[in-house]
Each structure stands twice: as structure tokens, then as C-alpha cells.
């Protein structure tokens, strides 16, 4: 187990090193941040000063190695437009994105799994057909349109929920969270629902397909023949066996919600990381772009590690294979 973990860690570090090269070079060949940031009437001397302050007068490889050196010391560079360490700029916005992503995934799981189970167990009932038809909408309606519709209905016409922004926050573990206040929750509801719609449909369909596949299998029939209660058959024998693909997808989706909830964050003016990356790309704030992409790599690596760990808990075969290797 430990050596398995160790080899995963080394893999992760190599992936991240490769990413620094790709990201750093990719970001540095696009445009000229100085031309965007300085006023158009800046003189050559004023311009040169900015170029030197940003270190852009040095060759690319030198910039890269001083960046790597910084990374080893926990310094991912300094934002051009916020004049703060890039990592700090991102971490300030992390809680907002995390709570949005977590609530969206929670909604997706709490709604998606029961609906999927129902649709799988009673595939011919009218309700199950309704769920499945609904899931097609969940897949196919574009997020930005659904977001605007939610705002039009619940904020503009009904006036129940605020149209945008983040509500009142309280401090917990040194970060500001809004899900602990009523005002915060009311601001969170619409964007979380908007992000969740697609995931609900996804989880529901996955669970339904899994159930349909598992139900006719022998061990389910034997379980029933043994006279087990239907509840136990469903929750232990069916659900546990279909969870592996569901956990994989939830993990991947959670990562992409954190990294790419840009559309929802933009529509709901949610001050999270998605909005930050768009703002940063527009003004070519390179340190923030690089730090953001690095951070996303870390998040994906960690999530995949957690997903693998979850497999070992869910599936004895994975557990045994890991032990066999060590």
C-alpha cells in the first residue's frame, strides 16, 4: 500500500513538472502583457521600467528556472495587476469556488442517485420515463441559458432569491465562507443548482445503467432467493456494486467543477477562481495564469488519488491487487 502510494506520488510530481514546462512556455508566447497593462501613452523609459519590474527582459529559460526556484520555496510569482503573490490571489477566491462546487456535487448526489435507482428498478413506470426525459434536458440545455432563466424566474419575476453575487460570509479556518449564513445560502442556491443540473442528469443515468446491468445477475437473484429484504438487496448488493464508475465520474466532475465553473461564476457574478482566470487571461496576468493552472493540476492529482483510495474501500479486488503488489 505504501509503495503504491509512493509510486503514485512520484507520478504526480512528474506530471506537475511536465505541466510547469508546458504552461510556462505556452503562457509566455502569447501576446505582450506590458502592452496591455501600461497606458498607451507611456514613454519608452516608463515601459522599460515595467518590463524590468516584471523580469520580462530576461531570456525565457532564465525566467523559467527562477520560477521553478520560486516554486520550491512556495512562491509562484507575483500578480501584475493585484500586486499580491499569485497563490494568495487564488487562495482568496478558493473558498467561494469550493463551496459552490461542493454544494453542486452534493445536490447532484442527493438527487441523482435516488432518481437513478428508481429509474433502474422500475424502468417501465411513467415516473422513471419522466426522469429520463428530464435528464436529456439536463444534458442538452446550455449552462449559460439555464443560468439566465433561473435568474429571470427566481430573482426577477418571483423575487425569491438574489440574482447574483456572494452573500454574507463568516470566517472559519482563516477563510471566509458563506454557506454558514442564511443570506449566504440564498445567494448560493441558484448558482449551485445551475451547476448541478448537468451532474444530476449524469449521475442519474450512470446509476440507472448500472442498476439495469446488475439486477439480472445471478448474485442478486440468489440474494433474493435467500429471502433478504428488498432494501438490503438494493442498498448493499446493487448499489455498492455500481458505485465504482459513479465515484470515478463524481471525482472527475468535482475537479472540473472547481477548475471550469467559469460560465456559472460569470453569469452569477460569483467571486471565485473561474472568474479570476478569465480576468487574468484578458490582461495577460501571467503569474496568476501559471499559478492557477498549476493549482488545477494539483487538485486533479489529489482527487484522482482520493478516487483510487475510494476504489479500495468499495472493491475488495482492488484492495487485494494493491496488497499483492507490495
Amino acid at each position: 500500500m505504501i509503495s503504491w502510494f509512493g509510486s503514485r506520488l512520484i507520478q504526480a510530481l512528474l506530471v506537475m513538472l511536465a505541466m510547469t514546462v508546458i504552461v510556462f512556455i505556452g503562457v509566455n508566447v502569447v501576446g505582450d502583457p506590458v502592452a496591455i497593462l501600461i497606458p498607451p501613452d507611456a514613454t519608452a523609459a516608463e515601459r522599460l521600467r515595467v518590463v524590468q519590474a516584471f523580469g520580462l527582459d530576461r531570456p525565457l529559460w532564465e525566467q523559467y528556472f527562477s520560477f521553478l526556484n520560486g516554486v520550491l520555496h512556495g512562491d509562484l510569482g507575483r500578480s501584475y495587476v493585484y500586486n499580491q503573490p499569485a497563490l494568495q490571489v487564488i487562495l482568496q477566491r478558493l473558498p467561494a469556488t469550493m463551496e459552490l462546487a461542493a454544494s453542486a456535487m452534493l445536490v447532484a448526489i442527493v438527487i441523482g442517485i435516488p432518481l437513478g435507482l428508481y429509474a433502474g428498478l422500475r424502468p417501465d413506470s411513467p415516473l422513471a420515463k419522466l426522469f429520463m426525459a428530464g435528464s436529456v434536458l439536463g444534458f442538452s440545455l446550455p449552462t449559460f441559458w439555464v443560468g439566465l432563466m433561473l435568474i429571470m424566474i427566481f430573482s426577477v419575476n418571483l423575487g425569491w432569491l438574489p440574482a447574483s453575487g456572494r452573500g454574507e460570509t463568516v470566517e472559519l479556518f482563516g477563510m471566509r465562507w458563506s454557506f454558514l449564513t442564511l443570506d449566504g445560502l440564498s445567494h448560493l442556491a441558484l448558482p449551485a443548482l445551475n451547476l448541478a443540473l448537468f451532474k444530476i442528469a449524469l449521475v442519474m443515468r450512470l446509476v440507472r445503467a448500472g442498476v439495469r446491468e446488475v439486477l439480472p445477475q445471478d448474485y442478486i437473484r440468489y440474494a433474493r432467493a435467500r429471502g433478504l429484504r428488498e432494501g438490503r438487496v438494493i442498498w448493499v448488493h446493487v448499489l455498492k456494486n455500481i458505485l465504482i464508475p459513479v465515484v470515478t465520474i463524481i471525482g472527475l466532475e468535482f475537479g472540473s467543477v472547481i477548475a471550469f465553473s467559469i460560465v456559472t461564476e460569470t453569469i452569477f457574478a460569483w467571486p471565485g477562481m473561474g472568474k479570476l482566470i478569465i480576468d487574468s487571461i484578458n490582461v495577460l496576468d501571467r503569474p496568476v495564469m501559471v499559478a492557477y493552472l498549476m493549482m488545477i493540476v494539483v487538485i486533479f492529482v489529489v482527487i484522482n488519488l482520493l478516487v483510487d483510495l475510494a476504489y479500495t474501500l468499495l472493491d475488495p479486488r482492488v484492495r487485494l491487487a494493491a496488497r499483492g503488489k507490495s
Binding site: V156, A269, P271, L276
Partner: protein, 526 residues
Amino acid sequence: MKRLNRLTRLLMASAISVAAFAPAVSADPLRIAIGGAFTSMDPHFYNATPNHTVAMHIFDRLIDRRPDTSLAPALALSWEAVSDTEWLFHLRDGVTWHDGEPFTADDVAFTYTRARDVPNSPGGFGGFLREVESVEVIDDLTLKITTPVPAPNLPRNLAFVPIISRHVGETATTEDYNAGTAVIGTGPYRFVSYAPSDRVEYARNDDWWGEAQPWDTVTLRMIPSAGARVAALLSGDVDVIDTPPSGDLERLRSDDNLAVYSTPGMRVMYVGLNQTDSAPGVSGPNGEALDTNPLQDPRVRRALSLAINREGLATRLMQGAAVPTGQWLSEGQFSYAPSVEVPPYDVAAAQALLAEAGYPDGFTLPVFGPNDRYPGDAATTQALAQMWARLGLRTSVDSQPWSTYSGITGTGELSVGLLGWGSPTGEAGYLLTNVLHTRDADAGTGIFNTGRYSNPELDALVDTAMATLDDAEREALLIQAVEMVDADTAMIPLFMLINNWATRSTVTIDARRDERTLAIDIHPAQ
């Protein structure tokens, strides 16, 4: 007991009389949403409109700009040029900082040193202070500024620089401003809180020297998505939004609960023409190389200008969010030239001019433009290419994101490009010096002269004008220069962008030419 009673009564009576004489003060909070991204609470860190907007609520300037860009006294009550290069500023008495300390001339001297030297700043305030060679404190309320050369625009430039205090500012870093500890100004509102990428909150400063403000608290929110901004206004989350999408203006106007306010802005959209000996991509009708660059011929430039249907661009493509122009200021502004008319849309005349210049069969012309910088920029670039195609030119369109387009505007590689230029000084000289003056890095002229236009006659006229301190005399010279630019078609002005705001009908706003959304311009509706 009796004495106490009398005292209480006296206090109550005075409280009532104070209340009776105080101006009608509304207890309502004001909520504003703007589209631009503000990045710091440090007033001198980054010269961008949203950052100015945030700072102007808290910090005063020496001189203020009214919504129409004319100047007004602020921390300086009056100013005069005592010689060609020396200015005296007489400061307002009795002004205090938000922490109670008195404001003095020394704070201004400190500000002008600090503003041009903020660590890691992407540049910005140095440009406004280029003309400030030295600042001398004569006494607490008098200041002498020496300029290296005669600088008639000094007051206009100083209207951009927020004044901070020496006692707080000397040790403060950008971090201290973002944390809120150093945000001590003299302005109409005090700092309350700052949430990056989200909002800034203010509370009224009752000790402000200006008119009493109607709002107890002001919240300035950042909502970059135009649709979300409109939704926030419709749902009553905010009272005022800036730049509503032009497609929504009709709907917003027709709603009884809402109102739209507009003014022509400061930004002109124009076409920059490459006038070097070989403009990249400009070639003969079949792509063959040409001996001379056709854009060097004023008749060709004029023909290109006459072939543009500006009225169509403004009313159809921009949906009324622009006013056609033949120059770069609006009527009523300093040095606007009434004699320069909007060039007519006349394809026949344009074709005749082209033939006269020796290009009856046209030539090949690549048209460049940004696609995420100005309202309708990509569509305008396409429309220009189509209009010139009608003239008989072989055009192609190349729209790019600003992050790459801004890179080629400075290199001289841009043949024909859609560009925008704001005149924050509210006079013609700023564009003339930076965009049309012969490029000279040492003298700091022609810095944004993307086409390398060079006209010694115009240079001389601009130089004279910009060294003339007498306002009337300078205005006459500048108007003459504007006329010269038009006669030579040095650039092709298209239209002035209009600034729009939408509000709930409970408030009104004085629309500003300089795009800023300030609580002091917003009033409760009568």
C-alpha cells in the same frame, strides 16, 4: 433635577433645530454594479477606469473633473501659472483626513513622489506626473509646481491623481491598502470593506468639505457579465449599473421602473493607416508588390474615409451606442472644431479619388481589428472591409483578441487597423501629441503613432499649441491642427462611443464622459 431637565430640554431643542436645518438626508443604502474589474485598493497602483472609480469615492484630487470633463476646484481652490513653467496652487482650508488629521500642502508633495514610484506597478500614474519636475511647499496651504517645459495640461493631468496623506502613506504598501488599514482619504466616503473581485463598501464621511451626500452607505459591486448586471438591476439587487448591453437599451427605457442615462464618451474609434514606405500586406489588385504604399497618398486616405457609411455603423451596427464623427471630441469640449464635419458617405466621389490617385482597379488591403476590447469591434472591422470592398478594394479581415492585437499595434506592422483612443484630458492636444505627432522616443511624442504618420507642419503647430499657456490662444491653435488632420486625412475617425447607465427610477445619475460611476453623481429621484 430641575437643572438636568432644563439641560435635557435644551439638548433636545438643539437636536431638533439641527435636524430641521440639515439637508434632507436619505437613510437608503446605494448599490452600484460596474462591469470593469477593479484590482486593488491602492489608489496609485494601476491606472484603469475601475480602479479610479473605486479610489475616487475615498480620495480627493487637487482638481476635480465635472461629468462633462470641465475642471472644478477640489482640494485646490484655485491655481494659476505664475511663469511659463511655474504654477501656484492655493489649497482648501480646514480639510481633514478620515482619521482626523489635518490636510496640508505637504501631503500633496508626498503624493506626487509616491504615485510615480509604486513597487511592481504596471505603470500608470507616471504619465500624469511627467510634467511635474518639482513640488515646493510654500506654506501649509500653498504649493508651487515647476514643470520642465510649459505645460498647459498640468491641471488636467493632476485631476487624475488621488491625494494621500504623508502620515499614513509613508509606510503603507499595496498590501496595507488591500487590507484596508491605509485607505485614509479626504473624500466623500470612508472605506468600510473590500472583497477582491466582488465588492467595495463605503460609508458617508460627514466631515467632507463638499455638498452633503444623500447616501449612508454605498456598495460598489463588480459584475462583469452584462446580462447578469441587467438581471441584478431588474431584480432590484442594485440601483445603478454601467454599460448595459446596447441591445437591451430599448427594453430598459420602456420599463417604468427603470431609466437610461447617456452621454457621448471620450473615446473615438478610428482607423489607423500605415504610412511607412511598405505597409505589410498592402499590394496590387492581384497581390503583386507595389512600388509605393498607396496609403501615403492623401487622396487614397480620403477615398477610404468617404467610402465609410458612418451613420449606418452608428445606428445599425452599434445600435445607437455611437455618434458619427470626423474628429475625436464632442461638441462643447475644449478645442472641438465646429468647422470639421462628419465626412459624407459618397462612394462615387471615393472611386473618383482612387482613380485620380492612380488606382482605378483598387488594391489589396488587409483590415485588422480587436474582437474583445471595444463594443462592436469585430463587427465594425468586418463592416469596414465590406464597405471598402464595395469601393473596389480586395479586403480581408483579421480580428484578434486584444492580448495579441495590442502586441502588433506598437510594432509598425499594422497596415490598416481599427483602434480606439480616449482623450481623458478632454482636449485635442492629447491625441495629437501621442497619436499623430512624428514618433520620437526621446521627446516622448507619437508614442501611439501606430501608422508612423509624419507631418512636420502639423508637428510644429502641435508643439506651439502645447507650449501655449493662454487657453484661448491654445484652443485656436489646436482647432487649426484638428482642421489640418482632417484636410490630410491623417487618420480616419469613425464615431464617438456613447456611455450608458441604467438605474432604478428611484435614483438619477449625471452621466459622465469619463465612464466613471460615482456615488456623488447619483441622487435620489425627486
